[in-house]
């Protein structure tokens, strides 16, 4: 019953949204894809307990991968999506092996360092990436050969929704698997997990690779639907933003990244319209306030309220 309701919600929500807000589908698609990006980070941070300040590297690899393919004659979006996910995963393997060797602060430094390196490399390689001007000239073919990208963004929205749904199902089943349980055990106590037979670094590296592939998917679809790739899609700044989205929503809860991305993007959009000069200051203040008021994110705050109510009854 509850499961049926959730499924119905996942299907009805985009249809309703398209009927009610046909003019804001482009922003909505971006929210969905940032939600997928934050969800990929949740697998790593929330479940495996590996914090990263460089996750945008994999989003960026997905975006540039799909962008470069489309700009060089491979416009078929689905095969490009799969291919770029693979590339992100392959790149993530050595990075992951390096990252999981560190302690928690070491991991932050390593991921930060890699994000800095990669975004500088992309900047320098302007002949390939377009550098600071961004990658232009993409020609993405219609989805399944049938649906071309309309100005309203209907195709892009449905495409993003479907990819998000598949990504969500994948992460949900991963965290509920024996492998996912072992990630949570490692997060809670890596030494004891090893003492019970868990190859801790290998598991974390695999989690890193899976998470990177999903981040790559989010980046690829973002590039395919917006038809541009900007340099900031693989930098430290976006890495910090996606971490903030996840923290706002609540880590280790699957829906946290989605809720956080929606709030973050809408507030950004709304504030930059309302106060184009000082909006960043407002964002900073809101972040500080949110961290103080809901340290475990929105979902954490809701859980707390609920358990308090149960006690009161």
């Amino acid at each position: 019953m509850k499961a049926a309701l959730i499924v119905a919600g996942w299907i009805a929500a985009p249809v309703l949204y398209m009927a009610l807000f046909p003019d804001s589908l482009v922003l909505a698609s971006q929210i969905l894809l940032m939600g997928l990006f934050a969800l990929s980070l949740d697998l790593l941070v929330g479940y495996a307990g590996v914090a990263s300040l460089g996750h945008a590297v994999f989003f960026g690899i997905g975006a540039y991968g799909a962008g470069l393919l489309a700009a060089n004659g491979w416009g078929e979006p689905l095969s490009a999506l799969v291919l770029t996910m693979l590339v992100a995963a392959i790149f993530a393997l050595p990075v992951g092996l390096l990252v999981v060797r560190g302690g928690s602060l070491g991991r932050l430094m390593i991921t930060l360092g890699i994000a800095t390196l990669v975004s500088e490399a992309a900047n320098r390689a302007s002949g390939i990436t377009g550098g600071a001007d961004g990658l232009q000239g993409m020609d993405v073919w219609p989805l399944l050969g049938l649906f071309s990208y309309d100005l309203q963004g209907r195709t892009g929205f449905v495409y993003a929704w479907i990819v998000l749904t598949l990504g969500f199902l994948a992460v949900r089943s991963i965290v509920a698997s024996p492998f996912g349980l072992s990630l949570q055990a490692i997060r809670e106590n890596p030494v004891r997990a090893a003492a019970l037979g868990t190859p801790v670094r290998a598991r974390l590296t695999f989690a890193f690779v899976l998470s990177a592939a999903l981040a790559g998917a989010a980046g690829a679809v973002m590039a395919q639907t917006t038809q541009v790739v900007a340099l900031n899609s693989l930098g430290v700044h976006l890495s910090a933003d996606v971490l903030v989205m996840l923290l706002i929503g609540g880590v280790g809860r699957l829906y946290g990244g989605l809720i956080g991305a929606a709030i973050f993007m809408v507030v950004h959009h709304w504030l930059s319209d309302l106060d184009p000069v000082y909006w960043q200051i407002w964002i900073g203040l809101i972040l500080i306030g949110a961290a103080l008021a809901a340290p475990d994110g929105i979902l954490g705050a809701i859980e707390k309220l609920r358990s308090r109510k149960q006690v009161a009854w």
Partner: protein
Amino acid sequence: MVKPLLQTVELTRRFGAFTAVDRVSFTLPAGARHALIGPNGAGKTTFVNLLSGVLAPSSGELHFEGHCITRTPMHLRARMGLSRTYQITSLFPRLTAREQIVFALLERDDLGWSWLSPYAKRRAQYEEAESLLQLVRLTEEGDIPVRSLPYGKQRLLEIALGLAIHPSLLILDEPAAGIPSDQSAELFEVIAGLSRETAILFIEHDMDIVFRFAERITVLVNGGVFCEGTPADIAADADVRRIYLGDAENV
């Protein structure tokens, strides 16, 4: 001669200039009930850390079931059947007791990499987890995060986890540390009831318990083996009485 289950040869661990475990040569047969005693700071926990792989030895060798495991990583030692518990409780605070036992069982059964089907559907492991929870009398508390369990219950879960992987050697580092003495008797009843397929090496300060459950005792002093023998030998040893038993209050 029967091959020993565990054998250490001149096992040594230094921390800087300080030698915490000093050339310990020690053998343990399968199915043993062996106590390791000694004053605080004698190096007992460090010795256990060397056996389980938390620490690497500075020198010396370590053999388990005939294999040299001196450099074998911790998780592979566990997979070979060497299991331990911790003097300071080391659990998975936000998982439930049942979840963490199921996790240990899945690892033992080589299913830890499986990432496509839900762990909640693993009937065999859940049934076995239930019987382990029964063994340590935790069935009622099986489904709450263990960080909200009372300490005594956490100590019991500590042992259930160590047992879950079907070890041929279970090392218990002060299993009763930090719990009231009536509960520690209960805990040792559980330990006494364990199958002889599992050898037990335990560290314990309560000499009544040591003499009741151990078949052999090794006394560690200043990192080295001071003496080893049956409980009767140890009880009769004048030197042990002088340096250790007579001083039992502050250990």
